[in-house]
Subunit: 203 residues, 2 copies
DNA sequence: AACTGTAGTAATCGACTGATAACATGTCAA
DNA sequence: TTGACATGTTATCAGTCGATTACTACAGTT
């Protein structure tokens, strides 16, 4: 009768474990910001020990860089998937694709957070590069004019703000939340509302 | 011949000292985010000792709450000052007022940062309240329609992003920065460029 | 079956940070 | 003048966090 050890995580190939940790890290970084997140929290969320996270990624900063790079990748993927169809409705389809990213934990907040860290030498480089990739995609692949691209991104940033503020709970006294949401999500209010956490909730 | 002591800050009424610290704190919080700044950095920037900062404000969190509350106040002030004049150009004047806030260190980044902290119980409340005040000002005092208010705020968030990313330096290889800036600041590119720090600069 | 590289953990360290306590000095009313 | 309050500091602590080291165990190859 061999005693189950089981303190250690089930064995897995390093590449798979990395992907698993990246996914967990996206959620945690998204919920608590880069500086506000500990490598231990990421490790727990991924079901491994804290030193192992550090060993797989070198430093917390490098881990975060991989996280945001991956998030920009994912974002462009879903945008590209929304390209086929009536050309005049590309913007709408891509907007919908953006809001649907809300279900992928941390994806949007992590990108939003990265845009506030342009002053960090390493992270800033990756964040600018990610933003640049989005911009060029909109111009080159989606065929947006500069003005259309500006408008699209501005709306995305506004959505990030609504999400970050947790403006989707019941704060009738604080904000005319319904009006804000109606104005910001013309026809996706209900969906967005159900996808978002309220204030204080762990996301 | 009395020996100058001078290790201590020149005496000042507590109310004035608070205001001085709040100003310094806005700059530091704006440059390094809430979690990323230490009370000691704020104290140094204000020229006082670290324990005195926490004694005057109780906790770091309470200090930050006063900072963002003050920032939303200030923002509404400059918006209100831009109201008088041709009604059809109110939006332009307020947009200009917003970009001119860039010279007041930390004012814009701090507000941007606050919108990412809606999940924090205390800070989130104040951030939502600040956002709400802006929204109501736009609707009630500036006479914006919901759609106009949405558009105005979205543009502001985009500006915050540009600023946060430090997209104003020379990153010709990373981004068609000029095109982005042209699209985002139709007629204020040069002014904005001179007001913003480059990546790595301390702001 | 033994060897070797890979996957993973426990223990721990040094640096940092927010907060507290105790103390010092300046100001002002009576 | 004196005493009482307000302004401000030094010293220090207890907790936290990222990173390092040293170790264990599993898996595949020959």
């Amino acid at each position: 009768m061999t005693v189950e050890s089981v303190p250690t995580a089930p064995r897995m190939k390093a590449a798979d474990r990395r992907e698993l940790i990246l996914e967990a890290a996206t959620a945690v970084f998204g919920a608590k910001t880069y500086v506000g997140t500990t490598t231990d929290e990421v490790a727990r969320a991924a079901g491994v020990s804290q030193p192992y996270v550090v060993r797989l990624f070198g430093t917390k900063e490098k881990l975060f860089i991989e996280v945001i790079d991956r998030a920009y990748d994912r974002m462009i993927d879903v945008f590209r998937a929304a390209l086929p169809g009536a050309p005049e409705a590309v913007g709408d389809r891509m907007g919908t694709a953006y809001t649907e990213l809300l279900v992928e934990r941390g994806m949007l907040p992590v990108v939003a957070n990265s845009t506030a860290l342009g002053g960090e030498p390493q992270i800033g480089r990756v964040a600018r590069a990610g933003f640049s990739r989005i911009w060029r995609f909109l111009r080159d692949e989606a065929g947006f004019t500069p003005e259309q691209a500006r408008e699209f991104i501005a709306t995305g940033m506004l959505i990030n703000t609504i999400v970050g503020l947790r403006l989707t709970g019941d704060y009738g006294d604080e904000v005319s939340a319904t009006e804000v949401l109606d104005a910001c999500f013309p026809d996706a209010v209900e969906k967005v509302r159900t996808l978002l956490p309220a204030a204080g909730e762990p996301w």
